[in-house]
Symmetry: C2
Subunit: 228 residues, 2 copies
C-alpha cells in the first residue's frame, strides 16, 4: 500500500533498548566484541547474539572476525549521523532527564562521533573550513578547493590517500548538541586522526569525550583557522 522508504524497519532496529545501548556504545568509534556489547546492553550472550545478527542484517553494523573474537562496529558514517540525529531529538523532547552530569559539558565541547570530531569544536572546525574557503559547497557535495588542498597537505594530511578510499571524502553530519553541522567522511576522519597523532587532544577511555590540551587548542586553531 505504501511505497515510501521503510524507515520503520530501521527505526525499529534502533528502537530496542538493548540494541540502542549497543549502538551508543559503538559511537565511540572503536570496535567491540560480542561479549562486550552483551555486557553493555545488559543481556545474556545468546540474546546479544540475536540482536547483533539483526543489526548486521539491517546494515547498521559491520563485523570483523579476529581469532575467536568478533569485532562489531558502526557500518557507515551515515548510520552514525542518524544516531546523532535521534540523540538530538531525544535531548530536545526530554530536556533534562537526569541532572546534567559531570561529563555532559565535556561531551558538548568535544566528542567522537564514530570516527570524527563532533561537539562545539567539531562545529567550529566545520565553519572555519567553509569560511576559510578550504571547502566549498558545490551542488550536491562539498569540494576541497585548490588552496584548501595545499593548506591541508601542509598540515600533514595525505589527501590522495583519502581520495583513493572508497568512502566519500566530505560529508556533513548534524550535531545534536549544537544543532549545527560538523565534518564527517574520509576527510573528517583523517583530521581527527591527525589531531590525536599530534597530541593536540586525546580520547578519554570508554567514553566519547575528547580532551584537548591547552597547547593543542592553540595549534588546532592556528592550523585550521578556527576563530577563538
Amino acid at each position: 500500500m505504501k511505497e515510501g522508504p521503510d524507515i520503520a524497519a530501521i527505526a525499529s532496529l534502533i528502537g530496542d533498548p538493548a540494541r540502542a545501548n549497543m549502538l551508543l556504545a559503538l559511537m565511540s568509534g572503536e570496535a567491540l566484541t560480542a561479549s562486550e556489547l552483551a555486557q553493555e546492553a545488559g543481556v545474556a550472550a545468546p540474546t546479544a547474539s540475536e540482536h547483533l545478527l539483526k543489526l548486521r542484517d539491517g546494515g547498521l553494523l559491520a563485523v570483523e572476525k579476529q581469532g575467536r573474537h568478533r569485532y562489531y562496529r558502526i557500518a557507515d558514517a551515515s548510520v552514525a549521523s542518524a544516531i546523532e540525529s535521534l540523540t538530538g531529538l531525544s535531548e530536545m523532547i526530554r530536556p533534562r532527564r537526569t541532572r546534567p552530569g559531570p561529563k555532559e559539558p565535556a561531551l558538548r565541547m568535544a566528542r567522537v562521533c564514530y570516527d570524527h570530531l563532533a561537539g562545539d569544536m567539531g562545529v567550529r572546525l566545520y565553519d572555519a573550513l567553509i569560511a576559510g574557503k578550504v571547502l566549498r559547497p558545490n551542488g550536491q557535495s562539498l569540494d576541497i578547493t585548490r588552496k584548501g588542498a595545499e593548506r591541508l597537505s601542509n598540515i600533514g594530511l595525505d589527501l590522495s590517500a583519502i581520495a583513493k578510499a572508497r568512502r566519500p571524502v566530505c560529508k556533513p553530519c548534524l550535531d545534536w548538541s549544537a544543532r549545527r553541522y560538523h565534518l564527517a567522511g574520509g576527510l573528517g576522519a583523517a583530521i581527527f586522526t591527525l589531531i590525536c597523532d599530534k597530541g593536540w587532544a586525546r580520547r578519554e577511555s570508554a567514553s566519547r569525550v575528547v580532551t584537548f590540551t591547552k597547547r593543542g587548542i592553540e595549534q588546532f586553531h592556528d592550523a585550521f583557522g578556527v576563530s577563538r
Copy 2:
C-alpha cells in the same frame, strides 16, 4: 545501568510501520485529521487513535482541536530533521527497493520538508544564501547579515514578523537526497510560502513534490542569487 539519552524510546515510536506511515504523511507539512492518518496508515480508527496518543505523548506530534476534528502535525522541525535523517539512512542501506519510480526524480529535485523547501532546489538556495552573505554561520547558529536583511525585505519578506514568532529563525536541516543542508526555521518556511504565493512553484496535491514553473525558476534564481 545506562545513563545515555533515551534514543530507544523515540526510535521505537518511529519503528512501527503504521506510525512511520503517519509521520511520513505528515512530512508534507500539512496537518491531517485522525481519520486521514488512519487511512494513511492502513489501520482502523481505534488503532490509529492508540498510535496517535503515543506519538503525542512522545512529543513527536502536536494536536490542534478544530470543531469535531483533531488535526495532527509534526511537533517540531527537529522531529522532521530526524525523520529525514532516517530516510537518508534507509536509502543508503537499501539503495533500490523498488524501481526508481516516476516521482522519485521530482522528489529529489524539489520537495516539501515539513514546511520549507528541500531537495536540490532547497540545497542550492541554502548555499546561495551563505555564499551571497545573506546568512552567516555564527558559533551555534545562523545570523542574517545587515545586507541580507535588506535584500530579503526587498523581495517581500516580513522579517520582523518572522523574528517575533517564537520559533528559531534559521535552522539547517539535513537533506536525505542531496546529503547536504537546506534551510529550515521561520525564515525557511517564510521563503517557501513566498515562492508559492508568487506562483513560482506549486505543491502537488497529496505528495511532497514541488513543481517549479519555467518562469518561476528564473525568478527564483534571480531573487536569491542561486547559480544555475
